[in-house]
């Protein structure tokens, strides 16, 4: 089954336990992350200025499928703006973003998310007055009951309820995977900072993405939870998910990422393996202040 074809349409997927991924991955309603282009995310000549400040200046890079790629740079280097440009939250002045061979520049965020490119936010933005389960149930694509008519009109409701049961099974599986099933009925606003980060990652995963953009997922997370989060990310990467990760902690990036992209003043300074980055004079000069 081609994942791109399935996620490209708005029609309801048929979630079914029997369709579970044979590789032992999570059942997210598809066969798992797609196996299309070798470089699902390609950014070409991206540019954005706010008033006189050029936040992102001619940035080009690509992210390899199934990799964990780090995006680093000092404060104000344009990392978050790059994320916002890729996910359609803001529109670029120039340049293109290509996802799975399709030009997605300037598309609405929901259209991009539906194609399998899903982000999380720097400050965890859980939906506070909804429970963890409601937060999670929101995410899956192709929910029949999102049509007002189907939810309300007698006769269609049975279909919706049936799908809700399937979704709940899926949600439960993901909650268990992230070890947050014990707080399932808690309001998201009552969670600790670390639990919110887990919830946000779990929720993003439920949209059945191919590529996940994580904006500082470890900010404000204690070391033991950081370890857990990393284990989850590695496990998911082995299942074929692709990650692009913004992070400040250099050690963490160097230890965990296969490739690192360095942004400096809106420009791509360099990219390569962690070893190459660590040896790069320019990076040390610009970013690390020359004293590694």
């Amino acid at each position: 089954m081609s994942d791109a074809a399935e996620t490209g349409t708005d029609s309801a997927d048929e979630p079914s336990g029997a369709d579970a991924d044979p590789t032992g991955g999570l059942n997210l309603g598809s066969t798992g992350p797609g196996i299309g282009e070798a470089y699902p995310l390609q950014v070409e000549g991206l540019r954005k200025s706010f008033g006189g400040i050029t936040a992102v200046d001619d940035a080009s890079f690509e992210v390899e499928r199934g990799s964990l790629t780090g995006l680093i740079g000092p404060n104000g280097a344009g990392k978050s703006t790059t994320f916002n440009l890729i996910t359609g939250m803001i529109e670029p002045d120039a340049g293109t973003v290509t996802f799975d061979g399709e030009d997605i520049t300037g598309m609405e965020p929901h259209a991009i998310a539906n194609r399998g490119l899903v982000r999380t936010f720097q400050i965890a933005r859980e939906l506070q007055e909804m429970t963890v389960l409601e937060n999670m149930m929101l995410a899956p694509k192709g929910q029949r009951g999102e049509s007002l008519w189907r939810s309300v009109a007698p006769g269609f409701r049975g279909d919706v309820v049936e799908q809700e049961h399937d979704l709940l099974d899926r949600v439960w599986e993901v909650l268990e995977f992230f070890d947050i099933d014990h707080i399932a009925e808690e309001y998201a606003g009552n969670l600790s900072g670390g639990q919110r980060k887990l919830l946000e990652l779990a929720r993003a995963l439920l949209t059945d993405p191919d590529v996940l953009l994580l904006d500082e997922p470890f900010a404000g997370v204690n070391p033991s939870l950081e370890k857990r989060l990393l284990e989850h990310i590695h496990e998911l990467r082995e299942q074929g998910y692709t990650f692009l990760l913004v992070e400040h902690d250099m050690d963490l990036i160097m230890e965990n990422c296969e490739r690192v992209i360095v942004l400096h003043q809106g420009r791509i300074l360099t990219d390569g393996t962690p070893a190459e980055i660590q040896a790069n004079e320019e990076v040390i000069e610009a970013y690390l202040g020359g004293n590694v």
Partner: protein
Amino acid sequence: MSVRDDVAARIPGGDAGLIVAILLGIYAAYVLAGVGLGFSLRGQLNTIATLTFFIAVFALLSLALNLHWGYTGLFNIGIVGFMAVGIYVMALVSKPLYEAGGAAQVGGLGLPIVVGMIAGTVAAALLGLVIALPALRLRADYLAIVTIAMSEIVRFSFLSGDLQQFQVFGERVGFGGGSGLILDYTDPIEGFLSLFGAWDAYLGVVSAFEPLFGNPKPVVDGLVYGVVLLGFVVAYYWLLKRTGESPFGRVLKAIREDEDVANSLGKNTNRFKIKAFMLGCALMGLAGILWYMRSGAVTPNSFRPRITFFVWIALIIGGAGSNTGSVLGGAVFAALLYQGPRTLKNLIDAVLPNAGAPSGFGPAVAPLISNVDPVPFLLYTLDSIRQLQLVFMGVVLVWLMHNRPEGLLGHRKETAAGIPLTTQQAGQSRAAPDGGSEDE
């Protein structure tokens, strides 16, 4: 506060039980007040009919507003505009054709009342769409500005001479301008009952009341209409509960909490907002029709923004985000803040018939300052209790904001899902046979 929650928890039937209990309390208080006033049976029934009417219309309106504000976070302060469009379009469609020499200056299209009600509801929804398309892309406070401006534009349009009368399909119709519009169609009750051929039977029932008091028809009509309105409250409640407890309602809640997140998870939030806004506007239009349908005539100046704010107060009292809370808020507002001061005033007049309140503020305050005699001031306050209605509303709002900002039932715990989301349920759901597959 916790004491009150304990009391609430002891009432059987949960929130529904609470609503029934509070309604019974309200009615008991009004009947007792009626006894105190020495009302006849006719007077008592009239009071009950009026009370039921206002409880129902405020419950309808706060339910509709709850969809906008409580669920989706849409700041609509133009409620009265949608009500006005509803009743005016309904009148245009259902008024009889113009006849020279009749009491009415303009006619209508002469279609059945039900058609008019549908047309009015649809017109309110379409007005909602027109507003939603540009305004919903903006932040919440801009929607507020646009909606309140719209409600005033609607009122001034109906006031304007240009719309006073015009031709549709060669018939002389119009909105009557500032002098108002006479609703000279058949009484809706007669219309409905004739539709089912039950009108003669109904007249028979009415005449059975003849021995109890003279001319019973208006009283019985009022009671019956009150019951019909309560039926609409149940229908609204059912519709909105179903809307809320679904994936659609879940997206609305997510938009209320953080629209960017909902968008980033692949939900076309603009589309959801427009749908929710239109549905709420339609319900407001229908509520406007039901409120004014039997009033004999409407004038544009009935539709001032204060009605909008009354509905907001009702929703805030009941608790935004809760459908049961909306019904409760509508009932409490109508009984205590809207009708309450009037009844209290009558009661005071009956209890203290010759108290002789001072005629103005000066004579009321002077004794209080000169020889610390509070009696004239108290009498004056009691005498002005109806005028103080808005002050009471303000005091109640301030108190609520300090002590219970979430309202009586505003815990927002109505689950946004088609099935109960509990740990147990999830376990069972998972264990359910699913084609014999074994996950892990």
